[in-house]
Symmetry: C2
Subunit: 277 residues, 2 copies
């Protein structure tokens, strides 16, 4: 029998989707829904309890009572309010563990959270360990696939992201007309795509039909257990608005949202999504 | 005696500044002001004529009549209107030279223009060949210089730009809090700085006082004769708005605007500008 699994669930479609897949596997499943982020109703009949971030102590007690061995964390975290963070008595003793982690950036914090659960005796898995089908496969997701010219842009884009990796930056880039149009840093993928849409709208940039592509991959040091890059229906809408023709994803290393039918959504928009090994 | 020099002048402060410096050197000087870009009144007593882009033939005749040997092109080009481009009879025969150049991006076009003037027998110089004092020196421009922590960010920033160079992108980047915050691609330096200002204004990014820096350098393949990166008073205003602390420039390879007193303008704002070898 598979060890008992707890999904610590944030916001968005990924946590319920992962829960549905995990429920179909052997072994007990428990969902710890983060208040203000996860919608408990989205998880159907799953065995679920909700927790504020300040109720970490209570969550740990529950995980131990249930003899949970494996944990997977997935979904968007809310910008925590002071109310959500307010620690209960059973949480106070863990605070020193996090003081150091809070000093770095988000990456640093996530690594601190992973280390904390490991120190508490749990195994921390990534969504892809439970459900590889949530990530981009090798090849096209829908019926459309990248043309040779588009493939060339994808290859160049992934080389660019690899060159940026030592600088701990560059989860995504946009290429068109044989050149690099935009590189993501602190602004995030959606803001980068909107920037390109604005340049096109203002006439400062022309992107021919079938030309522009988005590439997305994790950075080299990224912990894919807790910080896997993701795309979803919104990404498709945004790249369509910017006049791009498709998306290249590092296969197995980017989460694909849309409840399993993002490929057909891409088809409907005349876009390609392709996983590249 | 120095060979006769023509300045083909676009918009902004750089062309008149270069003309003043060149006028103080030996040799004849002629200014060809591009209509719609250069302001003839800004050039004082210089020997000057104005030309539409479509009057290339007439310009060449004038350069030959004056036995001009050297050309320097400087200043911002207007987005050319059809009116400005409308070729005169004496220009028509040169059009085939430009048909190919117009097909690539801006870089490609500029290289085409350089090649054209060279084919016509002129020597094309860069602004730095005439007036190295227009470019960033090694070391601080004003009284403020980068702190050791800021220097560390500058070094990392220049490494990042060097890593991007093979991809023909990355004239500038912004770093803060030990990481890369923004990378310039098609949007241009000013838009990149405004993006960081917006992230700070929206609370999505915090930049501590004395932390954030802008780095700026040419790309590896850039022809510094016609396409040298530049900063000016507006750059200073923008980085102040974004809460950055200063600017690192590749020494000798970035034009410094502000009529020769950008260092003191930086001092007044508590910013540093530093050339890095």
């Amino acid at each position: 029998m598979r060890p008992s699994l707890a999904i610590i669930a944030g916001g968005g479609d990924f946590p319920p989707h992962l829960a549905r897949i995990a429920a179909g596997q052997s072994g007990a499943l428990f969902v710890a829904a983060l208040e203000g982020a996860a919608d408990p109703l989205a998880f159907g009949q799953a065995d679920l309890k909700s927790y504020r971030l300040g109720q970490l102590g209570r969550l740990l007690e529950e995980l131990r009572r249930r003899e949970i061995t494996d944990i997977v964390m997935i979904g968007a975290l809310p910008r925590p309010s002071f109310g959500a963070l307010r620690p209960e008595a059973s949480t106070l003793k863990y605070l020193p563990h996090f003081a150091r982690a809070f000093k770095g950036g988000d990456d640093h914090l996530l690594r601190g959270v992973v280390r904390f659960f490991e120190e508490q005796g749990f195994r921390v898995l990534g969504p892809a360990d439970i459900a590889p089908e949530l990530t981009a496969p090798v090849g096209p997701l829908g019926r459309n696939s990248a043309s040779p010219a588009q493939k060339e842009l994808l290859v160049r884009g992934f080389s660019l992201l690899a060159a940026l990796s030592p600088f701990d930056v560059g989860q995504a880039a946009i290429l068109a007309d044989h050149r690099v149009i935009a590189i993501e840093a602190a602004e995030g993928t959606d803001a980068m795509i909107r920037r390109v849409a604005d340049l096109v709208a203002n006439g400062r940039l022309k992107i021919a039909k079938g030309d522009g592509v988005l590439v997305k991959a994790p950075k080299a040091g990224q912990d894919l257990r807790v910080d896997m890059p993701a795309i979803g229906p919104e990404t498709l809408r945004n790249i369509a608005d910017a006049g791009l023709s498709g998306i290249g994803l590092k296969a197995g290393q980017v989460l694909v949202g849309g409840g399993g039918n993002l490929g057909s959504q891409a088809d409907q928009r005349g876009l390609f999504i392709e996983g590249v090994a």
